[in-house]
Amino acid sequence: MEIGHKTLAQLVEELQQIPFFEEIKPEQLLQRVPLLEDLPEKLAKRVAEEAEILSFSAGQVICKQGDYEDVFYLILSGEVEVSTFSQTKARIMLGTLCKDDFFGEMGPLSGQPRTATVTARERTILLAFSKEIFHTLHKGDTKLKRAIDQKYIERSLRTHLRQVSIFSALPDQDLDDLVSRIKLRSFKKGEVIIRQGDEGDSLYLVRSGFVKVSLGELDHEKILTYLRDGSYFGETALIRGEKRNANVIAMTPVEAVQIFKADVEHILAKNPQILEEFERAVSEHAKETDEVLHDESKARAISFVVKKGLAQAREVLVIDQTRCLECDLCVESCRAVHGHSRIIRRGSRLGRILVPTSCFHCENPECLLCPFGGIVRDKQGEIHHTEACNGCGGCARRCPYGNILIIKETDASGQEKQRVVKCDMCVDFPRVACVYNCPVAAAHLLRPEEIIAQHQESPAADEQ
């Protein structure tokens, strides 16, 4: 019998054709998995019907670091190895997992891309849960939920600490010691994490989400920079024994690791080489701050990127106004390809760059909270609507930037129907149509940091 992309129920059905196995039930098999033994009957039935059995041969990659994927895996047999790449691109082995272990919980829990690569070491059979079943399982008080929560904290902290440059050289023993002392904290959008002038009692590592660093009163702040996952802040006050020199505010829901002053001092006493790294980071941050304070165009660009929500964009469609011929071919090509244009050639402008109304493909998208699975993110991180979309417009209302459009269409029966459209980076086509059809390369895709760099090069006009 061949395994591969079949549900447990389908496999058992095939098995039941063989005499002696007629009586076997999928739920019985699930009970043999320790983490699933206490599942309520209804839930066990759903798992059997929807969770897929996957088979991987030795050396085959099961999931890859950086991919946006939200499948959760439980190992039924075999062994896998988990590895990650540090900020310096060095491969770091994180360990091995075997029968009854699980992995992939960080994807559906945090919505972040995979933080590690998992490769089969021998023939491995996995039970794969989609995001929807995973969340159903995670709602109840089951053995699996408790195990997932505990492992999530342990693994995410360990993986995260290893990826941060200042801790990448920390010996395993010290790292384990640190993991047991630190605290994983969550902050709501707009919450102040650090206030300028407060005592510096801890260091923070951003695990997911975005924060902005600013000076002055919160209602008249001067934005210095924004930080994302993998960054850290609060080190200056700790190292120099000064008060906090800036505010740090959550721009999106943020998960951060808090390391207390005593623990940092303990690590530095044991590992003096890390102090150098800290000193370097402090002077680098001071230099960056100084640059923003003295370079008005950079300050304006950073402020624009933060205030318009572009900081959390992966890639943004921009139109260079000094090249644009107003031919509207970008809009026309979007219409030609999708039947309805998803771009409105109006929006905010920074110097020569216009950011039209078009999806930002955020790192932490609020639109993805769709109960019907009508909007999803693919492995490359591009967000698009699926066939399950019923046009309710919930995603459009949740988008803080108004970049999802609700249109009215008449179907074949003459009935008027509401449909939700947004830029999906032409996911079903070989190229991004608007960019591909701009004859003068005025329409192009830029990452937020590229917007800042381009504006610094030629600050043509003020933000509008």
Binding site: Q321, E326, H444
Partner: protein
């Protein structure tokens, strides 16, 4: 980041520029060699070769217009095709002049060559306009003007101003007659400036000052919108005007080139 390849072809321009320059060198050399010894004509092997190559380049260059009309064709980005349109077009002129053998005694081929020359020259002017006009427009326009949206907003403003001014006495009627009508009638040119105080305050009744301020604000917005629309339309007109020159000449080129090819085939075979 998008997994799709980025659309940039900076090397293509250099490559074609280099080819173009090389051909000019060959052209000059060829003029020295073939004009004096042995004499070249469009009908001998070399001349025919240049002619066929030039015609192929003209057709390839013209594909830009076809590609522009089919935005869902994935056969090269429009930027690449525009680059090819410019470089292949100029290259074609070099080859066709070489094809002529520097002899100008037949009317139809001479006209075809003249039109090719005019197409290339007008094209180069167009390339310059495409490069020079957008930065000037970007300096003066804060955001792109979408005529439908502007027209809709202007109509909304007019509706609001009409409601504000109607049935409220002489001062409001004067405001409507002296400011609103000229503004909309002249498409924003009159009055030259919307004064924040047109000297009518005293005539307003108690509590009307706020409405008056609102009306002035709306008038100013309408004037700005008219001025932006005007800038936008002038920009588009300039680009269109150039097309009105370039496209008919291109049609002339196609007609005379086709006539030349047909005549050659007819009389030769």
């Amino acid at each position: 980041m998008s997994s799709k390849p980025k659309v940039t072809s900076p090397r293509l321009g250099w490559l074609l520029g280099f080819t173009w320059a090389s051909l000019v060198v060959i052209w000059i050399g060829q003029y020295r060699v073939f004009y004096y010894w042995p004499p070249l004509t469009g009908g001998d092997a070399w001349g025919l070769g240049f002619g066929i190559a030039g015609t192929i380049l003209i057709l390839a260059s013209a594909f830009y217009s076809v590609r522009k009309a089919h935005l869902d064709w994935w056969v090269g980005s429009l930027q690449t095709w525009l680059d090819l349109h410019i470089y292949l077009g100029t290259l074609a002129l070099v080859l066709i002049v070489a094809h002529s053998g520097y002899r100008w005694h037949a009317t139809v081929p001479n006209l075809a060559l003249l039109f090719l020359f005019l197409v290339v020259m007008s094209g180069l002017v167009g390339a310059w306009i495409y490069r020079a006009a957008p930065p000037l427009k970007a300096e003066r326009l804060r955001t792109p003007v979408l005529p439908e949206i502007v027209a809709e907003r202007l109509s909304e403003i007019h509706q609001q101003l009409s409601e504000l001014c109607s049935g409220r006495g002489a001062a409001w009627l004067a405001l409507y007659n002296d400011l609103v009508i000229p503004l909309y009638h002249s498409r924003g040119r009159e009055p030259a400036e919307i004064s924040p105080d047109p000297g009518l305050d005293d005539e307003f009744e108690f509590g009307e000052a706020e409405d008056y301020e609102r009306a002035v604000k709306l008038l100013k917005e309408a004037k700005t919108l008219f001025s932006e629309l005007d800038l936008h339309l002038r920009f588009l007109r300039r680009l269109r005007l150039w097309l009105y020159v370039h496209v008919p000449i291109s049609v002339g080129l196609i007609v005379f080139s086709a006539a030349h090819v047909v005549a050659v085939l007819w009389y030769r075979y």
